[in-house]
Subunit: 275 residues, 4 copies
Amino acid sequence: MVIVIQCTDQIGLVAKISGLLAAEGFNILSMHEHVDKAANLFFMRLEVDKQTEGDRPLEQKLHELLPQGALIRVNPDPVKKVIVMVTREYHCLADILVRNYFKTLGATVQCVIGNYTNLADICRRFDVPFHHVSFAGSSAASEKQILDIITQYEHDYIVLAKFMRILSPDFVSRFPGKIINIHHSFLPAFAGANPYRQAYERGVKLVGATAHFVTDELDEGPIIAQQIISADHSHTASDMIKAGKEIETAVLAKALRVVFDDRVFIYKNKTVVLE
Amino acid sequence: MVIVIQCTDQIGLVAKISGLLAAEGFNILSMHEHVDKAANLFFMRLEVDKQTEGDRPLEQKLHELLPQGALIRVNPDPVKKVIVMVTREYHCLADILVRNYFKTLGATVQCVIGNYTNLADICRRFDVPFHHVSFAGSSAASEKQILDIITQYEHDYIVLAKFMRILSPDFVSRFPGKIINIHHSFLPAFAGANPYRQAYERGVKLVGATAHFVTDELDEGPIIAQQIISADHSHTASDMIKAGKEIETAVLAKALRVVFDDRVFIYKNKTVVLE
Amino acid sequence: MVIVIQCTDQIGLVAKISGLLAAEGFNILSMHEHVDKAANLFFMRLEVDKQTEGDRPLEQKLHELLPQGALIRVNPDPVKKVIVMVTREYHCLADILVRNYFKTLGATVQCVIGNYTNLADICRRFDVPFHHVSFAGSSAASEKQILDIITQYEHDYIVLAKFMRILSPDFVSRFPGKIINIHHSFLPAFAGANPYRQAYERGVKLVGATAHFVTDELDEGPIIAQQIISADHSHTASDMIKAGKEIETAVLAKALRVVFDDRVFIYKNKTVVLE
Amino acid sequence: MVIVIQCTDQIGLVAKISGLLAAEGFNILSMHEHVDKAANLFFMRLEVDKQTEGDRPLEQKLHELLPQGALIRVNPDPVKKVIVMVTREYHCLADILVRNYFKTLGATVQCVIGNYTNLADICRRFDVPFHHVSFAGSSAASEKQILDIITQYEHDYIVLAKFMRILSPDFVSRFPGKIINIHHSFLPAFAGANPYRQAYERGVKLVGATAHFVTDELDEGPIIAQQIISADHSHTASDMIKAGKEIETAVLAKALRVVFDDRVFIYKNKTVVLE
């Protein structure tokens, strides 16, 4: 069973928490904690050896013990529910569908929403519903359509798996800390459109990818994972795109793993990833 | 102040230790722990915000609290004393001498022992004593000479910074867990002599380096740090040697940093590195 | 159009080849060459801007120009035909099936042969024939069955995508330079069975994967690609396996890309990869 | 002997050049070339087995053969002359001084210019002249002083090894393509001041370094080499600085190696690095 805690830092928090768990008969299998001294915040993720039961749940006892305003989750669902949004590129989606099919994603893909139709067939092959929402008309109308689809499905997260349209602040504000995007550059370098073209023009020697939570500032949300691969003068912009796909897939997979595994905390415009 | 603990695992150890520290008025600045479930061992490294004092030291209280046989160090000297042994290659030694000179090594180099004389001059430039011990005659006589030199200096660790002679089991057994070697391959691949030649013949696509504690089995001691760089068909054996030097320097520097910083625990034939 | 050449080295080979191509009206789009001086061998891969035609083919002219015994391929089929063999793990197979489906593999998967049946369904979803060959009985009988299946399909390469049975020297010798395997360690470290268990016991700080051509010496064939990821004391053997899967998939994908793209030359027990 | 060529691209250039070299009796030991098709430029670096001599030098013959305006260097001095400029940090300077002392830098350090005095002693230990130029007063006066020092020494390149003052466009314009800087971020992310602070605030998961030629646009010159290391939430800004030092040293060393080895071509705002 997983327990995650985020609260104001205090002397003796670890002693308090571990003392309570010992008193309640839980054995700690793993414990990761972090203190941001500048922000005076304490973060902890625990795995314990049995599940809670009884009339007075552990979460309540932790709230009594910890500073006011603590965010505490005891025993979050280990299998999350996700909606995936795509445009035309297949690599991130296919990776997600394969892991979903083999039950190694840590989540269930409820449906896929695409603004093109070319990825409908692979969804069908994996028995995952695909909804087509064109952006040919007004963005507002398209977003309305997407919201209508989303409300049909339970979901914990929305994953933008190479969804190439910018979502409105209104849309984004409905799902704070719930939308995960893969951006095809090493942010904050090359935010915005055509990052590989920008990277090519700039003559960089590395190409990167960044998975982050979406906020209403474009490409400025909290970063979850980043990785790079080498590039050189022999890479055209389209070579960079091709090389970038592999790293995008890997970075998004890594980010989803830690998010679905309840290892990611958001504060300020950053993440703490406890693993 | 640093506290390091290695003991048999038990339920509630974290609660006990953090409870004692809170009771004694220490604030925990950082805490890293690891449990090897198979070996039933608990490892912890803490940084707390003040030093111990008074008539009943913290170490004693921890011993009373923890399972019998616990290894506990409270407030180990943050600057270690080291003896460096070399043959002819300069790269690791020079890196150590530079960090020593700028006081960023986490250790003081007491002296350098070399079986050639070409590195005497750089030691002299940094005001570090250099002792020449030829291996032209019998190894036993040379080792005897080295032991005589070593006994002249206080030392916590002996660093083999590209020392290319094999030390006898008798020599090694005098300094258990105290001799650190840099091996120029990704162990256990290419143990023994001429690893780059072996790597070249095998046509590997990566070249590595391994820092490890020395035991009486050649190149088989507990690994502290490893890293690799890419190689390809265009690398001759001597290109691999050249490329390898950079990674050897970096891997040894990393290993020394974590050892001198009291982050490394040895058990079975492995290390736990808490950082 | 691609041209690949492997021959004894000689002074002036580049001048001869580039002169002939200029005379025949080909513009060189890219040229990579390598000389192994110790082996006295010359390797070259060219891309030129048009295809050959006419009554006297370019290959013939190159043979007249180059040293006797030169291996020359002009305009090899850019889409190879492959047979994939698997046991129970899905990650490499799924990656291959996805790329095959989206026509980015550089090859067509003719069929999949598995010694378990759990991967039959994903093959069916991608309309790729799956053949089950049990190894419950004698290996010789199973290999005979596999050979019977293989002969039903045209194929350029056989890919062992986590096929966990050892193929007999007789089987391997029928397909020299045609069988590609992914081994789940950084060869030559941890050859043989259970490499992750071996790596865990040894306490390594990196976990790797190696793609190589299969020869009759187990895990000793020419290496095509290798990569590693970091590990530490917190990785159990099964964590290493999980982490390893990602790198296995990436390394096999990379190896297949360069082999199918006619960038890999085999000689002695090595490869030259021109890219 | 090294030959480097940069010129307008044309069909048959490789044939022409390799033909001339064969006719003149040179054996090509290595050849690297690159064509930027968009820019219509051809780049080549050759190593041949003997040096030129005689009354009609090879450079002249190449000029006759190649398109007008070709940049050709035959037999550039393999040991460059460099002036190093520093502020207070030692890591890049010490690495350069060590390689200089052991004659593995590919260059001779003529002198070091520092705007603080703390690095004078290590220069003295290596018998390298150190000149102190304070920036306490007007920058213009300080730059004038630096120029006076520079004119006392022959030099091919000026290396800014953590020189933390911005040089004026007037200064920079005197040394086009001759000033090499190490910037402590993965450019173009975090250009300008305090990149590690910026990186920390942004919560990035990777920290990088970039070696580039200096132009009059701050941190915008052609990139020679870049590399990154992982960071995470546990890194404070000062941890990032510490981790960054190692990668800065490595990236600058790599950039100097390829520049001093005549492997770097500049065009537009990019480099081609042939190796």
